[in-house]
Subunit: 193 residues, 2 copies
């Protein structure tokens, strides 16, 4: 039952798309090749026609997750980005959220290939945030450093909030304190110029 080239490409993309969500939801170790392939409507042996190894898939799926996330925050101003990122909705929907918040801790333990994808993804998020901040009138030499600080705080806020028990007060308090602090930083810097 051989298929066309296009259908193979479709299968490949579907596996990557499903993996990108499953990895964010359950972590790299929490997803097995067999279950992933079953969800893609294929048998698990076929996996190795598409990828050299699971790690190969991890790199490709992570790249896709960063791409989606970068697009989501493009063409917005920094305050909107902050409100979207540091929110209960983002915290509670891991599967479609930012991979930096879902997988960074595990990424630190992956091979250098996967870490290179993460480095490029973080760099892209920083670059996007610099552009978003320009819409708030923020530019100049310190803009990049501030973008990095805001990203780190936003990522930290979502990660810490997720680590708290469900429905805990602290989980929501973390989000609100960080959202306001990041907004203040943008507003203050915006007024300076």
């Amino acid at each position: 039952m051989r298929i066309t080239k296009e259908q193979k490409q479709e299968n490949h993309d579907r596996i990557v798309a499903i993996a990108s969500e499953m990895f964010r939801e359950r972590g790299y170790d929490g997803v097995g090749v067999a279950e992933l392939m079953e969800r893609a409507g294929l048998t698990h042996g076929g996996f190795y026609n598409h990828f050299r190894s699971k790690e190969d898939l991890i790199a490709k799926a992570t790249m896709r997750s960063f791409g989606e996330t970068g697009e989501r925050y493009a063409d917005l101003d920094a305050l909107t980005v902050i409100d979207l990122y540091i929110s209960r909705e983002h915290r509670d929907r891991r599967a479609t959220g930012c991979p930096a918040a879902a997988l960074s801790c595990e990424a630190a333990r992956q091979t250098d290939d996967t870490r290179a994808v993460f480095g490029a993804g973080i760099e892209a998020l920083v670059g996007g945030l610099v552009q978003d901040m320009a819409r708030n009138g923020i530019s100049g030499p310190g803009a990049r450093a501030q973008a990095i600080s805001i990203l780190a705080q936003a990522v930290g806020a979502v990660i810490l909030s997720r680590a708290c028990p469900d429905a805990s007060t602290l989980a929501d308090e973390i989000l609100e304190a960080c959202r306001l602090d990041c907004r203040d930083a943008v507003v203050n810097r915006s007024q300076e110029s």
Copy 2:
């Protein structure tokens, strides 16, 4: 070859101490009971005389990690804490570092019992940081929110830096930008009062 009660307690503590470092280094999924027990000088079957399950150990080891970390940053001023936490040394020594930076992403996928330990641990770190900030003359209603913001940024900075490839410029740039931003926040707030 039965042993004394004290020796059992010693074995128990040693398993928890070793696990607390191994989990931070490799993640909860990266540590098997057999290897852990071998490192503790015991056979893996004996594990279940000390713990109901691996998850029981995860809760106890994580509590210990948070305890160590809280003690490390007690009785210091906030600027010293920031310099120690957001540093290459901390980033490169996961096994003895802060569990919030090493394990938060995975904690989000653990049971509510483990998340309760995490919530209490984060709460303790926030409380400690509030006390540290008081040494810089920072107090009042906004102090707690600022402690949360600083903690989130510090945790985010270490996590993102670890996710970057070894020896990448970005990894160090993240640490430096966040360290300076957190210091500025403390200094500015300190001058207000």
